[in-house]
């Protein structure tokens, strides 16, 4: 189509751009929750407790997964499909492992006598359950997206050569990774 000007081509792909705006929106949601945390913390009856060590492991796992997703985009672009397949598989597995580790972390908090929910819970613990849980859901959403893109490249009727979808998923993946690092620092030291 001739009216599609060259300057339009140089622009960011609209779907990529949409993802960036969506990320801003997710940032606002967590910013809302963490500011609520700060407001609440200033009120009376705030319970202080230590986060279990397993959250260190989950942090390492999610950082690793960012590396693998990055490498998988690189291999896709280099059309090294075997490597790409392995790396995507590992990334998705690490994502699931992260969520499992988080779950174990929450269980350990409860086992330590600090209920997350219920009438005897303290908002300091409830916040961690809710914010951490919402973050976990976002990670699972990322896993679903990766699996979908992965399958589409194989099973779909036509082959997908464009890396756009994968790049968008990778951006999202780095984002939820960074988000967890922020939340971890926030809960641990703030």
């Amino acid at each position: 189509m001739t009216t599609v000007s060259s300057h339009e081509r140089k622009r960011l792909h609209p779907h990529k751009f949409t993802m960036w705006v969506a990320l801003a929106s997710i940032v606002m949601m967590f910013a809302g929750l963490t500011s609520a945390y700060i407001v609440k913390k200033a009120n009376a009856k705030w319970l202080e407790f230590e986060l279990p060590d397993v959250f260190w492991y989950s942090t390492i796992v999610i950082l690793l997964s960012s590396l693998t997703v990055h490498l998988s985009v690189r291999s896709f672009k280099a059309r090294e499909m075997a490597r790409y397949r392995v790396l995507i598989g590992i990334t998705a597995a690490l994502g699931v492992m992260f969520v499992v580790l988080q779950w174990i972390g929450f269980q350990q908090i409860e086992a330590g006598g600090v209920p997350l929910f219920g009438f005897d819970s303290n908002p300091s613990a409830s916040f961690i359950g809710i914010i951490g849980g919402l973050h976990g859901l976002h990670v699972l959403g990322g896993v679903v997206a990766l699996v979908y893109i992965f399958l589409r490249a194989y099973i779909g009727a036509k082959k997908v050569y464009s890396s756009t979808g994968l790049e968008i998923a990778a951006t999202y993946w780095h984002f939820v990774d960074g988000l967890w690092v922020y939340l971890f620092i926030f809960f641990k030291w703030l």
Partner: protein, 604 residues
């Protein structure tokens, strides 16, 4: 990525015929699961209109109670069943439900989805020169989430314990405690589900609008050549995308307080109603909810008014046959309003025990909004000043908008002073303020848009005579209804009460309340006239014969009278100038697609 790629990736057109005559579409894909932005706009509009009628009817019903607290309308019992007691009066419970659902529905479903949903969908691709939205599929989902939200909210009207009744702001503890009152049970659950769906719909829509405006403009359409409608819709979408998620966080905490025993908002209060007694919760803070709510709530009022401002700017300029005055100042003031909208939420909380020192900053920031608002008003007035004004119904509604925005903006300056607000908060003065500046002004912006772009939507005109009746009665009625409320508010009459007749000091307003109720019924009846005009004209209205009936410069008038999916049958036109070349070099108007002549005077 090109416009074509977006359409093709969704297989909107088969390959060979994508310009010109349309390939066959089934009823379902054309009217129901449509991905054409123009059809989605109509879906938003008509759903919004249904809600406007329902919400308007609710206000007439609760006005009955306020105007005639002692009357015995036994016929209402037959009509509304358990909402009315045996004496023929609306029960206190249903009164509160009506007020709550009226507020929720008008603010979110009519003036957000119905207004910006409709016109963002219709105008963004048409005015920036795109074949459709960045993602037509997400766009369709946005409507379907809105419809789902609508159905859930509608269903809450029919549950045994009634719909939610704790006010549109849904403050805890009424919203957090299912046993607090009947409407706080199932009704509130449904309210929350509906609102969560609504937030998702707004986010999907907003993402798309922003991506489309930034990425899909046709050749030559630089940002500073965009019509002000597009700028306004752009800032609206930014406000929505950044503030709705915060509301969602507030709702999530609320859901946990309601259902999982957490203590974010609920504390160890004692509740006498329904023998609830002391709550087992500890340490919750209801004010926290107010912060999260108003962080959205204030931007939300601008989400409502910015699209109206954009359309009014456009319509005033087209119908005065003059360029908009101070284009860059208009964009700048939209920008300033957007930034300030995030910094003033606590002016709704001056009397919650907010630290007065902190309050002083919020007073300052709040009053600062008056500056960009005044710039806009000044520019609208100078735009029509000495223009060759064509008083079409759209133009009248645009002028009415300016009048209402001035009247309501001025009372905002009263309320923005925290000292005055101690007296005025939660009185009818606030009701008067926000109905004039947001409610009626927003609806006027919406009517202005509907009358102006109806020919583009349906290829026919609305009837003008009915339009004039609609305008004058609505304008006069709106002022007659809301102006007196300033006085009762100043006299201290609180909002949200079921019956003022018991109250010695407010007996003096009994007749005034009756008067307001009568006017409200008349104004409601005139909206039915508009409804008739709308639907009658779709099939029987005068046909549009010329491509550009208003002699406007913008791109939507370069499409065929009834554009198909893809908007332009041939190539997308290229843009050579800004959208406001009216009366330039002796020409009445110069469309944006006309190349700049060699001897043309200074050029945007």
């Amino acid at each position: 990525m090109s416009n074509e790629a977006v359409l093709h990736s969704h297989d909107v057109h088969s390959h060979d015929d994508h310009h010109g005559h349309h390939h066959h579409e089934s009823f379902i894909s054309k009217y129901v699961f449509s991905q054409d932005h123009k059809m989605i706009a109509k879906q938003f509009l008509i759903t919004g209109m249904v809600w406007a009628i329902l919400g308007g009817l609710m206000s007439v019903l609760f006005r009955f109670q306020l105007g005639y607290p002692d009357a015995e309308f036994t016929w209402m019992k037959d009509l509304l069943g358990k909402w009315v007691n045996d004496k023929g009066q609306i029960t206190a419970e249903s009164y509160y439900s009506l007020v709550t659902i009226h507020g929720t529905v008008l603010v979110f479903f009519v003036l957000t989805a119905g207004l910006s949903g409709t016109f963002a969908n219709l105008l963004i691709p048409l005015q920036v020169g795109a074949r459709d939205m960045a993602s037509p599929f997400l766009n369709m989902l946005s409507y379907w989430f809105f419809l789902a939200a609508s159905l859930v909210m509608l269903s809450s009207l029919f549950v045994e314990t009634g719909p939610f009744s704790g006010g549109w702001t849904a403050y805890p503890p009424l919203s957090a405690l299912a046993s607090a009152q009947p409407g706080s049970g199932t009704g509130m659950d449904l309210w929350l589900i509906a609102m969560a769906l609504f937030v998702v719909s707004s986010l999907l829509g907003g993402l798309n609008y922003i991506a489309t405006i930034l990425n899909m403009r046709t050749k030559g359409m630089s940002m500073t050549r965009m019509p002000l409608t597009i700028w306004a819709l752009f800032f609206t979408a930014i406000l929505g995308v950044l503030s709705f998620p915060v509301l969602l966080s507030g709702f999530i905490l609320l859901i946990f307080d309601r259902n999982y025993g957490t203590s974010f908002y609920l504390s160890d209060i004692f509740i006498t109603a329904n023998n609830v007694g002391a709550l087992p919760n500890e340490g919750g803070n209801a004010i926290l909810y107010q912060h999260l709510f108003w962080f959205l709530g204030h931007p939300e009022v601008y989400i409502i008014i910015l699209p109206a401002m954009g359309m009014v700017s456009e319509v005033l300029s087209v119908n005065s046959r003059k360029p908009i005055f101070g284009y860059m100042a208009m964009v700048g003031s939209l920008f300033a309003i957007t930034i300030l909208a995030f910094l003033v939420w606590a002016h709704h909380m001056f009397v919650t025990g907010l630290n007065p020192f902190l309050g002083a900053f919020f007073v300052l920031l709040t009053l600062l909004i008056a500056v960009p608002s005044a710039i806009k008003v000044f520019n609208w007035l100078t735009t029509i000043w000495r223009g060759s004004i064509r008083f079409t119904p759209a133009m009248l509604f645009a002028i009415g908008f300016v009048s209402l925005f001035i009247s309501g903006g001025l009372t905002g300056i009263w309320l923005g002073n925290s000292a005055l607000d101690i007296h005025l908060h939660d009185t009818y003065f606030v009701v008067a303020h926000f109905h004039i500046v947001m409610g009626v002004a927003g609806i006027f912006g919406m009517f202005c848009g509907i009358y102006h772009w109806y020919p583009k939507m349906y290829g026919r005109y609305l009837n003008n005579t009915l339009g004039y009746i609609h305008f004058w009665v609505t304008l006069a009625g709106a002022y007659l209804i809301f102006w007196p409320m300033h006085y009762s508010g100043l006299a201290g009459m609180p909002r949200r009460y079921y019956d003022y007749a018991q109250w010695e000091s407010f007996k003096q307003f009994g007749d005034l309340n009756k008067f307001i109720t009568i006017v409200a019924m008349i104004v409601f009846a005139v909206q039915l006239l508009f409804l008739f005009n709308f639907f009658y004209s779709i099939w029987k209205g005068r046909k549009v014969r010329s491509q550009n009936p208003w002699g406007a410069t913008t791109l939507e008038w370069t499409t065929p009278i009834n554009p198909g999916h893809g908007n332009w049958p041939g190539e997308i036109p290229e843009v050579h100038r800004w959208a406001y070349d009216y009366g330039k070099d002796g020409q009445e108007f110069i469309p944006q697609t006309t190349p700049v002549g060699s001897n043309e005077t200074n050029h945007h």
